[in-house]
Symmetry: C2
Subunit: 255 residues, 2 copies
């Protein structure tokens, strides 16, 4: 359900680049971190795509998503090996040359000065589209970059997290998304009619219903999300009353 508040807030998409996700080798851990972080600063994550290490696929997805959302974040494909092609693809998507970024090169030279390990492959990590601004990498030096509304980050979760949380006021957010959760043992099919009525009454609150089955017991989590704590509390109380009316025992939690 779309909400009035989300229509005004900045939006975002995430593009996860990497064969290892599509093959099932690697469990993505970046989506959930990025989703929560963006929610906390009032940016709505509206779409995620996962594409392989394939130039045409990456360029097409970047151009589709950057045109559509306030921000586009990418993860993966900025390392030193042959399968790391994100920087070239972003340059193609923007129609600008790929250059060696002087400050990125300086950082890599300083980082590898003692070990003497800076070679041609590692220098590829200094390449950015012309006009890009670096994103700091306090974990392993090789930077990400921003061009336009696109933020290009590493795929390794610890590095991605340091890059994202270091962006600070380069991301303009909106009102943070708040949530309330009502947990009960009433099956969602029993709650559905009443829950739909509460949703209709609170169009500014997103209400989701999530069943879980544990040890043979049904647990239903009713999650309410929105930006106005007063409206959220009012909607959560309506949902809790519905649960009680149906013979259940609601537990309300913030978040």
């Amino acid at each position: 359900m779309s909400t009035e508040s989300s229509a005004q807030a900045p939006t975002a998409a995430l593009l996860i680049i990497g064969n290892e996700i599509l093959s099932g080798r690697t469990q993505d851990a970046n989506l959930i971190f990025i989703a929560k972080y963006l929610g906390g600063i009032g940016v709505r994550l509206r779409e995620v795509r996962v594409v392989p290490d394939d130039e045409a696929e990456i360029v097409a997805a970047v151009n589709a998503l950057r045109a559509r959302y306030t921000y586009l974040f990418t993860t993966g494909g900025i390392g030193p090996t042959h399968d790391d092609i994100t920087s070239e693809c972003i340059a193609k998507a923007f129609g600008v040359p790929l250059i060696q970024h002087p400050e990125a090169r300086r950082r890599l030279e300083a980082h590898y000065a003692d070990s003497g390990l800076l070679n041609e492959a590692r220098l590829r990590m200094a390449n950015t589209p012309k006009g890009a601004v670096l994103i700091d990498n306090p974990v392993s030096t090789a930077p990400g970059f921003q061009i336009g509304n696109v933020f290009v980050m590493a795929g390794v979760p610890s590095i991605m997290q340091a890059m994202l949380t270091g962006l600070g006021d380069r991301l303009a957010g909106g009102p943070p998304v708040l949530s309330r959760t009502v947990v009960c043992a009433v099956p969602e099919g029993t709650l559905a009619a009443g829950l739909g009525a509460v949703q209709a009454e609170f169009p500014d609150v997103d209400i989701g219903s999530y069943p879980a089955f544990r040890l043979g017991q049904i647990s239903t989590s009713l999650v309410l999300r929105g930006t106005d704590p007063v409206r959220l509390d009012a909607a959560a109380e309506r949902v809790a009353a519905l649960v009680t009316d149906l013979g259940g025992t609601p537990e309300i939690a913030a978040g």
Copy 2:
């Protein structure tokens, strides 16, 4: 990197439907299961999208993806509550009416016969696009469905897994994707040039390089994927020799 073998194999996309993934409330567990299962039967997962519970978004994604890949799988949004709108959206995407599927209704009636819990909301789970074929749900009865090349499944992982693995020969696969992994402590920036040369020599093998940092130690996993075990072994031996040449100790594992 695209490969010769993958150009001939059936392809698939996955559409994950649900606000709970985009808000970061829920960690998706379906992508990795579906990716591995499809790889095992020789279907290449080529793209994943996550979209909110929003009709226009779902319809657009379904039509884009079903036209492009051999199969489209969807997860989520087929329960009884107001935020479960997948079935209606699939019908709109195909331009066919949403009907109450007689066999789906019969199964729900039988399932809820003793409890008397079958209500209007739960009966929504019998709705399918006209022309759909049911997908069995041995966990909780309410079925998924297939229409054309689109397979509509539940979002709850245990139910989705039962639905997918029960499809049997409704999915035509290709040669299974096999893999070899060479693990070493040589940093990927040191391996990059030699690795690129092996990739160039084996265009029918996908070679990916994945660094990890654990307890201050670098571990690099070089993953080789393809359909021909002889070529895979040959490529893995070349990669292992490269690691040895660079002073490392390679460990080769199948998978």
